[in-house]
Symmetry: none
Subunit: 207 residues, 4 copies
DNA sequence: AAGTAACCGAGACGGTACGTCTCGTCTTCTA
DNA sequence: TAGAAGACGAGACGTACCGTCTCGGTTACTT
């Protein structure tokens, strides 16, 4: 009968959008995701509630966009190229992977990222649609970078050419996420190094 | 002034406890964790709300206990020994791991387990205390089983004795959980097999 | 500092004014005053909200003007003279009052007038300023007509010359409005006749 | 499908009921009916919103009950008999009516009663159901008292036995309410006296 | 004919209140 | 005295409108 009344994006207030992102990330960091409310975000952002509901369907969606925005700004700041950076390729696969996993460890230990990342992981775990958005926007591109680097190593004869690069990527990223998620151990550079070493070397006894 | 009024556990109604577990698991499976409410559990269990709040501090705690109860009953049903079963040890590490990981894949694909497991993972991700309980009660024992089996293989000369068994365990379990959690690919027996193979073999090119 | 920005009435869109009146009266009749909103009026009239707020301070003010416009058009239609018609004077006070009160009864029974009249009476009851406007624009002139007619009757020796014509007017109009307002009985021609009769005759027993 | 969940009146909190009445009457007197909100009543009464919505369907219904409670307490305070007092009967109809109408005038001039009475009259004017409740609970009984007293006068030969007592009542009450409602003149004891005089005497010229 | 002022439709904005839902506590009655 | 039932204070939910504001576009008066 009555369609959802799609708002006119061209007249959207950029000021409000930024304020909402800042408020959302701030609140999630300070009081946690569960205690963060849409009313609280609106109030801290100095914005009407309807301005949030006009553009996002849920608290989780707001946080996802805030997080993507944060990640995009961080990436822009770090690398010159906006996003197609690619993993470093010094010719030494193990060394390159150590660098990248150490950086990942640092990020997961940064409390500025920890709270929103956990909130989104948790929400995406339960809400398939949100999880798909999160995965598509952030996770998949990152996994692709790993796979690309591994394929390059295979082409260079530095890695087993029969291995599935995607699976190998999971071998590196999966344990890290598992330990972070379930807090089953400390996330350190040493851990990252050991992980790279074992994933490359395998368990099979050397002759 | 007034202590928390610890109730007398000896007079507790086992009937209510079971009904609450069934109601909680049922509701989480049917309508999802977010839409499951304490009032809803109490109503379906034919129980007063206070009977829930008397024994559990939160919805998540109820679900955790319900889940542990479910897992305990399932284990009892499956293995003769109540919990100290240990992984199978046929002498062939790879074969044994394939069996176990295939079983894990099956469990994660079982919708009866999927919803509550996701709910608890999500809640534990955000709530450190609950996560710790979940990890301690279920995850750590399971990881220990893997580590034990790997150590046995090391002792038998079938696995690299220098490798950290705990890290090797994560190499097997982490990717599986990662893929399940983020739905980045299908969870199949073939995947379990490939994972075991690569984790044991490593990426380093064979001479 | 910044004055209220008085708009230029000469450039006002007559088309919009009419559409707003029609929409306002239509909505009040169809969904009631409480559920009539400024946004609803604007939308039905095909008009921007600001066009309403530019010319009226409130929903009630819009409806009052719409009602006055309706009454003016109705009067123009009925009597040749635009407004100074005066009550009929056939020489028989009772007969003339019966005619007029019967007409009033008919109007109050007309659903086209009932809803907006009730809405304005209610709003004016609570909001003194609006009530004053309503009274001054419609009620007082009407009461004056009655008083004039009664004074004429007094001058002609057909009515007690000591009576206060204004009070006598209220004796006729008050009961009618009371019954209409509180729905304490049916509003019929017979009622109008009986009211005129008793008001003229009084309760005092005849000798 | 799902019935309205009728609450158990026997467990109702009398304390909350009283607090809600006091808050409602206080707010209507202080800030007016339009600016009185359910949230405001709840907040001032120290009560959850749901406690209001559990027992009343609307702000107007709350106010009506508060008003009826107020009237009941006032009546109890004034007359010994809880409600069946009846109008005074000194044998002189005019004198008795003057006393009663003067009292009515005083009440309508009392700001403590004015605001809620106007609010209820306005709301009842627009909302037929509420108006019917108001009329049945307060207005009709009061009108009955007048009619009874007039009938007594008729029986005693002090009033025209052919007159309709109900209509005669409206002749007395209608003008008063009309003047109060539309603020078309001052409400004084002199006005009450003149009204009684004219209503009893009628307009017909004395011989 | 070009310039310019202002009204116009449209609708996003910061807000307030709505009526509903659920929380966790408290109270009452029953077994 | 544990438990079923459910009323309570509290407060967030998502929606509906409020009255203000800004945005092109369209008239209708300058110049």
């Amino acid at each position: 009968m009555s369609e959802p009344r799609i708002p006119d994006a061209s007249r959207r207030s950029e000021r409000s959008r930024r304020a909402i992102f800042d408020a959302a990330l701030g609140l999630v960091s300070e009081v946690g995701y569960a205690k963060t409310t849409v009313e609280g975000i609106a109030s801290r952002a100095g914005v009407g509630k309807q301005t949030i509901y006009r553009w996002w369907p849920s608290k989780a969606a707001v946080l996802l966009d805030a997080y993507l925005d944060l990640a995009a700004r961080a990436a822009e700041e770090a690398g010159a190229a906006p996003g197609q950076a690619g993993l470093p390729d010094s010719g030494d696969l193990a060394a390159d992977l150590r660098v990248v996993l150490r950086a990942t460890v640092d990020e997961l230990n940064d409390p500025r990222y920890d709270a929103p990342t956990r909130a989104l992981a948790a929400e995406g775990c339960t809400d398939p649609e949100l999880g798909a958005r999160f995965t598509a926007a952030l996770l998949t591109p990152q996994l692709e970078l790993f796979a690309r680097r591994i394929e390059a190593a295979q082409a260079a004869g530095q890695a087993d050419p029969d291995a599935d690069a995607r699976l190998a990527t999971e071998l590196l990223v999966g344990p890290l996420h598992h330990r972070w998620m379930h807090r089953t151990g400390p996330l350190t550079h040493a851990y990252a190094d050991a992980l790279v070493d074992l994933a490359l070397r395998g368990l099979t006894p050397r002759p």
